[in-house]
Structure formats: structure tokens, C-alpha cells
Symmetry: D2
Subunit: 362 residues, 4 copies
């Protein structure tokens, strides 16, 4: 079941980039939760292509249809089917055997021997529509206990931002790059547009912060919170690295520096600093959970690249046409938030931390 | 089942650091595989404490006993139980409510309300004995198709090595730090001993290389090879980051640089460079799989630290006694190799890439 | 993930009886398999309501739409989404709090506190549309190795048939009751119509035979072939019992009678008799797998029944209107065949018994 | 993971009949539960061989050792390893290629190609030691909410009992057959001893009743309570049939008879009759859950049987020596109770019906 994610709360997705539709089935949502199409649409709108000058020109409205699991505006505990049709499809630029470097063309062809090569098929970023559908529902559940999830673009190429939590919450959605620092947002946008003009693409780092998460979430030893987050995040195309808290910086640290001191403040346990990133031993501490993902540059670029024709087994050069994001980071933000929401909902249920019986059903 | 890992090939582990024993049950090993106690013991010896001057002085021989699943020196397709007794236990230095910073004391106490606090209990690195038992068997299976896994310590504090593949294979096991570059090995050892003398500990980076892996392993979209590796690696205590191929460096890259060009050499498909780290779209390309893990400094240090007494809910200072590794990286190497072996065995089975019917049974 | 079934080959279903649609997502189908809408439709037609005088008058054409996973008439190894719209819906006869005896009204209300009560919602037999979609694909896979699955109605009320294998294959689909014995078929039809005239319903037994199954399928000890079949069959609404081979008759037997003697015929291993029902120790023997399911009478009857109004917590009497099958057995046949096909496909994959690499991809 | 059973509460078992030991690892037991070796031993004693004149003469004390997961007499939320050594082993009577009819010799050999043939190896009933270890812990958890599970031998050959609930609770453990009706107990014992004298064995039916189960347990549609129970029960060797409530009797019934009327008694919802067996639509109703399993006669008998020598591929006759139960039903009782306890604990956790936070931890 490699197209399903989660145990008690799970998301199964389906659909190819240039097929008729993409969609998701969410299983394990408790009954009685208010859920409207708009709850899902607003998250899809954050992900959809064509939303700004730094995203692809493919223009998909990505209107979601709820197929099941909701009755009179509330969930009923049964699977929630959701469907988004593909509309603005142009498959004319794709060729099955001219392998695009950095894409999954090569590996899908070698693994499956037959594939829908149009727009990358199932390996396209379009597959994340289903994740965002699932994440939107997970966020509604987490709202019940005031867990909030904020993603932002921390880095694009060499432009890096170091915003405060307050900036992350207030400014991220105000600019097309989803950078939380107003000055850096402009620099990032320039960097992206400049790169695009060169026919190239650029990578970056997306950071996600989970606030309000109670202590006790995460199941040792193989379903640690950070382990499940890593799996979720690394399952998103284009992600090449994951870190939590101080992340790779711990390699340079001494224990006396990396350990977060613990203290009592107003009879509450608090950690000074957050090198641990909100987790110790796989279990949430009660501090915000902070993680980052390394996003590679979009592999589709308007430059000549060396590759092969797989059928003829010979070297060729290609220049990729089609419509692509010069930097995918801004659109990855809602996807990583979604994956975090799905993981945390699932593990919260397992830990008995969601007060599901308090949902007002009538 | 948070103490089990894997689907077709799975490892279930149990045991606390200062309990009677630790162990593992491996399920899904094919029948007819030659397997001796020595196959497992040799891997455990690489992990065991007290093996050198840079590891803890706890002296455990970690002798493994095979409980089931092997008959006349061969596996029989049934679960393989393995047991390692805890011998050199000194629980006198542990106190339940004096929470050690950087350890899981706080979160286990908050989650479970009752715990075996001696030596960290289940959250101790001693839990990884079971992983190495499982990994040893996975390695035997991967031997059948010449997949080989090499880990080495790439970095300790600020000392970083950039060894060749050939060095990694030949020199890593020749020095106590498991550094593949002879010169850097000495520097790392000095760094560790110096840190220890200061009563402190130091972090690092462990890199793992998988050679011989065929194309086609990994199941999109949620069981991508890199995603399962990330989950496996991040489930190991002390790991705060994971990256594959170019990893976090992709953030700074342009697409024209990060895409690995593809070409035909001697009628074989090859990628120039390995920014992709052996995976595209979640599926192995046939190039070596390369990943790295960020390892935090051992949280147990011989310095005063600010923390709390959880029962009295008041601030205290502690200085941790007991026996600890000043740098855990060298002993993490076989653990990460084991996790990689388990993941790859499991996904290879699912992909139908293990020629299990070719095992010589008589 | 209680709405998903299967591991390597899995089916996730969704949809309520009177919602907009019902559907399924099949994950794990190998690439390159020819698959058309007709392959699925022909199975749905066997299940659909209104197909004969012994089924409900709800008239659903149950036209299936393939949403994903198929390209140019072949599967591509990605999830296959399928959708069937609900058309002939009449929800006027349903009331939330007047609990229908023998249905899941009571338990859904107690468990979920809020539900789609129209037509039984998710607990309706209409949910099995998704199972049949999944089963149709599983049957296509099993065709590859000549595994064939035949269900028939063995018993209705007190009318019992004892057909030969040859009758089961040739006559079952020739009559509305799906009885394999021509004479008994007429008796069963009379029994059903007589019962219906009395405003009542009647139960029965459905038997399924799997031919061509090779030895070696089934995973001891908790994923035995008979155990997975039992789970699959008992998950279908209205099923109250499951047995394999001699089934409950073994209670009266002596070992000398129940053991199937083994012999060599033309250098092939054969069992005389099939009390074992094609399985020993959870693994297929190579003989046909034979199992039976006890099907309860449709709980909806046109007679006064004692029940409660759950909101007012008082005793009432109800007489159920709406459209219902007087005997559900004929329509259960394709559903049980589907569940058998899903189980056997999944376990065959795990046992490496499907020659998936032999699918002609071009 | 075919040797693991359960999701949130799971049992992994290992061990062969004539290997060094058999055992289990229980994962998901909440922390703070009082658990002693005796809690497990008392259940093992009910299962152990040699306990009476109607069981095998193999004399195993089956003394259990707890390896992990318990500290100061209480569970700590970590996996509980348990080990039982095999002591009274006599492997002299077993031959690898002389296939015993009715046993799994044939299928294990065909599936695995290599096996521990001594005493049936993993396919032996001795494997159920691990199930009973797991069930003993599950029963301790269910005690917390007063769920009680009673098994009894309902039928042996043609001797059938119809005891009252009160007899089941009070008399079952008072006689070696575990029959709840005192008169029938004597008849059954005679039947077994007579059969044994003839060198034969006899089958039967075991019934299990679960009292105190609250409404709302079971997850539609594929994890229905009856479906998970069927899977659990049919995974036990020798079981050829499963039924819940009226079971196979529903085939003869009319809906007006099989529907259990519902009424309010003292402001409580009750069902008159229990044809439904405590489940509707896969969810518990609050009535006792009642199920039955058909147990085949022990395949090992002291009579000549026709079979094959698999190596020489020729017909032979064998007469099985070794020590065997003439009727396995009495010893199956604690095994089926254990499987029921494991299923109900797991599904109760998923349904949020276990008040785990009320366990007194200090």
C-alpha cells in the first residue's frame, strides 16, 4: 500500500498529472467534525499552479469535489473521498524515451516498463494535490486542540532568512515566495525571476513550525515523531534532506551546548533553546516542533542537457519545453504543512491526545 | 507495533538497558539461508561498548543466542529470535526524577508516567543491539545479490573527511573512530579524547554508501527508497538530520548543476555525478545510494547542567555520572548500516529483486 | 485504515448508499496489464441491483469510470481509482432514530454519534461495489496464472444443492438465483418469491471454489490463507459464518476419516478427498480451495418489528418500507469471489507466485 | 510480518516445537499495569500438555520467563518479551520426507524447501504458547473495564452440550474436557478415551463468550469485530470453521426470525435473543459476543495411513508414533480465549474504549 500514508488517520492518493483527475481518500477522520469544501479548497489554492509570477503558468483552478464521508456539513467517520479534475493539460511536449535528467523518467521506465510519461505521470508534483486534501482535514482536527502548523521558505539559493515566529505567522502568506522576512522576500523573488530568465531553476529550504503540540506524542522506537516526520517529508518529490531542531549543526556541537537546559517557569516545564526541535527520544516535549527540508531545483530547465534515448540506448541532448516552476519552494510549503498535519494527527490519535469525544455532534 | 520495523522483512526489538536482556525477532527471512551465530556476533562486536578508548567503559561482550528459526545451520523461513543478555550493569547512578537534559527522561516520564529509568531504559542506545541483530541477517540476504553497505564517520566536530570509495572500503574498520581517511582518523580521535578530558561530548556525521543496488527498488509515492531510509535512520536515537545525495547542498544549487547528466557507457546506463544519491522519484537508479546522518553529541556529560526535579517541580543542577561515549559516531556506523540493510532487503523483496528461489537449500 | 484491505495488493473503498457515489482505489496492480472499463463493468453487472425478479427494484446501472492508473488500455503500476455514481436514490423512507433491527443503525449511532442514515449509509450492501471493482482487477491478475474463482448459491432456506464442479462452472450464471443445480435453482427461486410475498426474507449459503491455485500460497502463522479468507469473507455485511473444506463437519469426524490421504498420480502429488479445503497449516496444497459463507436473511422486511426510537429512548414498532432483496445470496456471489480474488492475489504476490515479469508490456 | 498479530496492541511469536524455546513479544501494552509472571503462567498452565488423561503425554512445565517491559512489577509501555523453554523433546519419531496426512508437512516442504520437521516445527500447536502469553496480558488489560472471556468445549464428536452462561462460568474448568455441562463432560471424556483406545482422534466445537463488552468496538468496513475475530480464530491450527451468533443456522432462517428485536429495559438498550452474536455491521452492540470454532481431529493417529515419501515421490503407508492429543479441544479453549482477548484489546484501544489514563501508576 505504497500510495497510502498513516495508520489510524490515513490518506490514500491516486492520479496522474495528465490523466483525468487526481484525488484522495482520507480514512479515520472522527465523526461530527464540521467540514466544507472550502476548508479543503483554501489549502489547495495555496498549492495550485499559476498563483503568482514565480510559479508555473499551467493554470489549474484545482476545484475539489467531496465524494463521500460528509453529511449535512459534518463528517460521519467514514472515508472521505475527494476529487480534483485536471483541466489545463498540454501533453504535446512529452516524449516517452527521451529521458529528462533529474526526473523520475528513468527509474519509472526501468521499474515499470510501461508508464504514463505525460507530464511525469504519477511522479509529477501534481500528485501532492491529494496530500493537501488530506492535510486540510488533518488541520481541521488539530484545530480542536489548538495545534497550529506554519511553513515558510527559509532559503532560496543563497538568500537566507531568519525570521521570528511572529513574522512567520504574519508575513509568510503576504508575498508570492512565502518568505517570512519582508526584505528577504523581495531578494528571493528577484533571485527566482533572474534564474528563470537564464532558463534555469533554483533550490531552497522550507521550514515548518508546529505550535501547541502537547508532550507525549510519538511512539518509540520505530515510530518516533521525528522519524515519521522524516518519512513523510522525504516522500515528497524534490526533497533531498530533512532535519529537526539544530539538525546538521549538531555535528559541530559539544554536548554542553546542544543539550537544552530544562526549567520550571510558572509551574510549567520549559526548555531553554530548542536544539532538540521539540522532540526527545522520539516523543514531543511540549516545545514547538521545528523541522526543515532541503528542496532541489526543479529538474525541468530551458537549457540543453545531456541524456539518453532509452529505446535506442544512445546519448542525446534535450532542451525541455513545457511549463515549470523556476523554484518550487513556495508551493512546497502547504505540502509539507499537510504532511506534518497528517503525521501529528495520526500519532496524536495513537497517543490518545485528541479529545475526540468532545466534538459537538448535534 | 511501534517496536517493529519493516513489512515483508521485519525486525521486532525488545529490552531495556539495565533489564535482563535485549533482543530481536526477525520475520520474513527466506528459508535455506546459511546463518550462524558468528554472522550476527561479528556485527554486534562492531557495535558493542568497550571496544576502544573512544567508547564507553561499560564492558558488555554482547554474546548473541539464536532462539529459533534456524535448523542445521540454515534458516527455515520462520521467525528468528535472538537474545543478548545484559551483564555489566551498574544502576547505582540513576535517579528517576532528576531529569537528564538531552535524554528522553523527560518525555518518557510525561508520556508513560512510569518507567525503567536505569540507564535510560528502553530509550538507551542499548536498544540498537536488536537493530544490529536484524541488520546482520539482512546483510546476509543482500550478499546473495552482491549489495554491499559501507558506513564511515565523515565528520567529528569540526574535523571532516572526504575519503574515496576505495578508502571507505579498506580503511574504515582499521581505526577506532571508523574514519576512512587515515590522517583525519587521527585528528578525530584527538578531538574526541580532548573533548572527553573536558568532561564534554561531541557530535558528527555518519555517511553510508550502498553499492551494487539494482535499479527499480523503492515504491512510490509514500514508500520511496529515500523516505524509508529517512524513517529508518531518524528512528535511531541521537540522529537529528538525514540527507541523500547532495542533500542540503541542493538549496544553493541551480537545476543545471544539480541534475545528474545521463549517458550510455558500454551499453550500460550511467549517471555522471551523484547529486541524486542513487534515487530518482523514490526508486533506485542503479548508482550507489549515498546518505548521511547528523549525530548529536552524547547528552551525558561530566559537567554541571541546569535541569529540574520532576517530582518536586523545582529547578536543580546535576552532574551526570555513569559511563558514556564521548562521541557515539563510531558505534552508530554499524547501526545505520543495519537500518539501511533492513530497508533495502524489505523493498527489494517487494520489488521482486531478490532471487530467493536461487538459494541452495540442500 | 479500516477501509483498506490487503498489503501488496490492496483495495481502499469509500462511499455511502445514498451519497453521490461509491468507489475504490486499487494499489499494487502490476504495470502492463490490459485493463478496460468493461473488465470491471462485467463484474459490477453481476452484483448490481435490479438484475432479476429476485433482487431489489432499486435500479442502478452502476456504470464505472476509471479515474487513474490506466494509460492506453494498460495499467501503469500506479493506483487505479474507480468511481460509480449513485443514481436511483430514494431517501424518503429512512428515519435516523427509528432503529431498524438486524441493521447497523444501532451500532453506527452508538459508535459515531452522527451518521448518514439514508439507506444505511456506509453500512449498506452498496459498499460492496468498491470490493467488486477491486476484485475485477484481481481476477485479471489471477488469469495470468490460470487461477479461476467460481461462486454459487449452495443453499437458500431449506433448499440445498450439491452440484458437481462442472455444473458450477457451466450453469451458475444461467439462472437468477446463481444456483448450480438446474432443478434446485427453480426450487430456490420459488422459495425466495414465496418468502417475498409473505413480506419476509430468507438466508442461505454461498460456496466459492478456487481452481488452479498452486501450492505454497499463505503465510504462517497469522496470515494463513484460510485466516485471510475468513477475514475477507466475514468483513462482508450479512455474513455470520465461514468454513473451509469439511468445515463444521469436522466436529463429528474421526482423524482417520478427516485426514485426506496423499498419493502420487502421474508424478503429481494429489490429495484424495478435500476435507482440508485446499489448505494445510495455512498454506495452499495445490488442490482447489473451497470455502462457504453463511448469509443471514436481509434484515429489511415488510413486517412489523419491535424496536426503539433511540432519541426518545422508548419502545416502538416499525414496518420497513424501501426496496430490498428478499434473499441477498445471488448478489453476494460476485462479492465473495471478489474478496477471494483480492486475498489470493495479495498472498500470491507475497509468496512470489505471480510471474509478473512475464506480462507483455509493449 | 506474518508472525505478528494486531495493530495498536500486537503479539509477535517465534519458536519451533522441538527447538530450544518458544516465545512472544507483546507491543502496545500500556504503562503502569501490574503484571507478574504468575498472570501469564496461570494461562499457560491451562494450555500446557500433560495436564490430564485426555491430553498428550509430552510433559512440559512451560515455565515462562519475562525478558523485558516490566519494572518493579508493573509494565512500562515498552515491549514485553516472554520466553518458554522446550524441555521434554523427543524428536526420534519424525522423518522429513514421510509426509504425515492432515499435517502441514506437505505444504511447508513445498513452500520452504527446507524445514525443521521435528514435531511439526513451527506448524506445531506448540506455537500457540506465544499466543497464550499475549492473551494473558490482553486479559489483564480487559480486566480494567470488566470485559471477561469464557471458552468451553461445546461439542466433541457427536456429544453436544447446551450449557447456561452460569454453567460456563462455574463448571468449565472443573473437568479435564472443559465442558460446561457436568453430564456431558463425562460423556465427552468417555468419547475421547474410547477414540484414543481405537488409535484414533476426534474433533469438536469450542465456543467463546465475551461478557461486558461495551457498544462501539469494531471498525467498519474491513476491520469489523467479527472479521478480526474470524481471522484470529482461523489462524489457529486445526480450526476449519468460524461462526458468530446464530452462525450457519441463519441459512435456514427468515428475517422475521433472525432479527433480534430491540427494546429499552431500565433505560438501557437491550436485544432480545442474540442471533447477531453481539455484533451488527461490524460493531459491538453491548450484548455478549458469542462465537464458535470447528476443531478438526488431531491428524496424528495410531493407524495406518496412505501417504507419500516426498523425496522418492512414491506412495507409502505410515503409522504415526510420537505423543499426541486424542482430542485437542480442551487445550484449544485458552488459545481461542487468548486470540479473542488480543483482538478485543486492540480494537478497544482503536475505539478509545479503554480508560488507559485511569491506570494507577504509583
Amino acid at each position: 500500500m505504497s500510495n497510502s500514508f498513516g495508520n489510524l488517520f490515513s490518506v490514500t492518493t491516486f492520479g496522474e498529472s495528465h490523466g483525468g483527475s487526481v484525488g484522495a481518500v482520507v480514512d479515520g477522520c472522527p465523526a461530527g467534525l464540521e467540514l466544507s469544501k472550502e476548508d479543503i479548497q483554501s489549502e489547495l489554492d495555496r498549492r495550485r499552479p499559476g498563483q503568482s509570477d514565480v510559479s508555473t503558468t499551467r493554470d489549474e483552478k484545482d476545484l475539489v469535489k467531496i465524494l463521500s464521508g460528509v453529511f449535512k456539513g459534518k463528517t460521519i467517520g467514514t472515508p472521505i473521498g475527494m476529487l480534483v479534475e485536471n483541466r489545463d493539460v498540454d501533453s504535446s511536449k512529452y516524449s516517452r524515451f527521451e529521458i529528462r535528467p533529474g526526473h523520475a523518467d528513468l527509474t519509472y521506465e526501468l521499474k515499470y516498463g510501461f508508464r504514463d510519461f505525460r507530464g511525469g505521470g504519477r511522479s509529477s508534483g501534481r500528485e501532492t494535490v491529494g496530500r493537501v486534501c488530506g492535510g486540510a482535514i488533518a488541520k481541521k482536527i488539530l484545530d480542536l486542540i489548538d495545534i497550529e502548523i506554519y511553513g515558510h521558505v527559509k532559503k532560496v539559493g543563497r538568500v537566507e532568512s531568519n525570521p521570528t515566529y511572529s513574522q512567520i505567522k504574519s508575513f509568510t502568506e503576504e508575498n508570492p515566495v512565502r518568505c517570512a522576512d519582508p526584505d528577504k522576500a523581495i531578494e528571493m523573488e528577484e533571485e527566482i525571476l533572474k534564474t528563470q530568465k537564464m532558463g534555469d531553476s533554483v533550490g531552497g529550504i522550507v521550514e515548518v513550525i508546529v505550535e501547541g503540540i502537547p508532550a507525549g506524542i510519538g511512539e518509540p522506537v520505530y515510530k518516533k515523531l521525528e522519524s515519521e516526520l522524516a518519512r513523510a517529508v522525504m516522500s515528497v518529490g524534490a526533497v533531498k534532506g530533512f532535519e529537526v531542531g539544530a539538525g546538521f549543526k549538531v555535528a559541530d556541537m559539544k554536548g554542553s551546548m546542544s543539550n537544552d537546559p530544562i526549567k520550571i517557569i510558572n509551574n510549567q516545564i520549559e526548555l531553554e533553546g530548542n536544539n532538540s526541535g521539540g522532540v526527545l527520544g522520539g516523543i514531543s516535549t511540549g516545545m514547538p516542533v521545528v523541522f526543515r527540508a532541503a528542496i532541489k531545483p526543479t529538474p525541468s530547465i530551458n537549457k540543453k542537457q545531456k541524456t539518453i534515448n532509452l529505446k535506442e540506448m544512445k546519448d542525446i541532448e534535450i532542451e525541455i519545453e513545457g511549463r515549470h516552476d523556476p523554484c518550487i519552494c513556495p508551493r512546497v510549503v502547504p505540502v509539507l504543512e499537510s504532511m506534518a498535519a497528517i503525521v501529528i494527527t495520526d500519532l496524536s490519535m495513537q497517543a490518545g491526545k485528541l479529545p475526540l469525544d468532545k466534538i459537538q455532534k448535534e
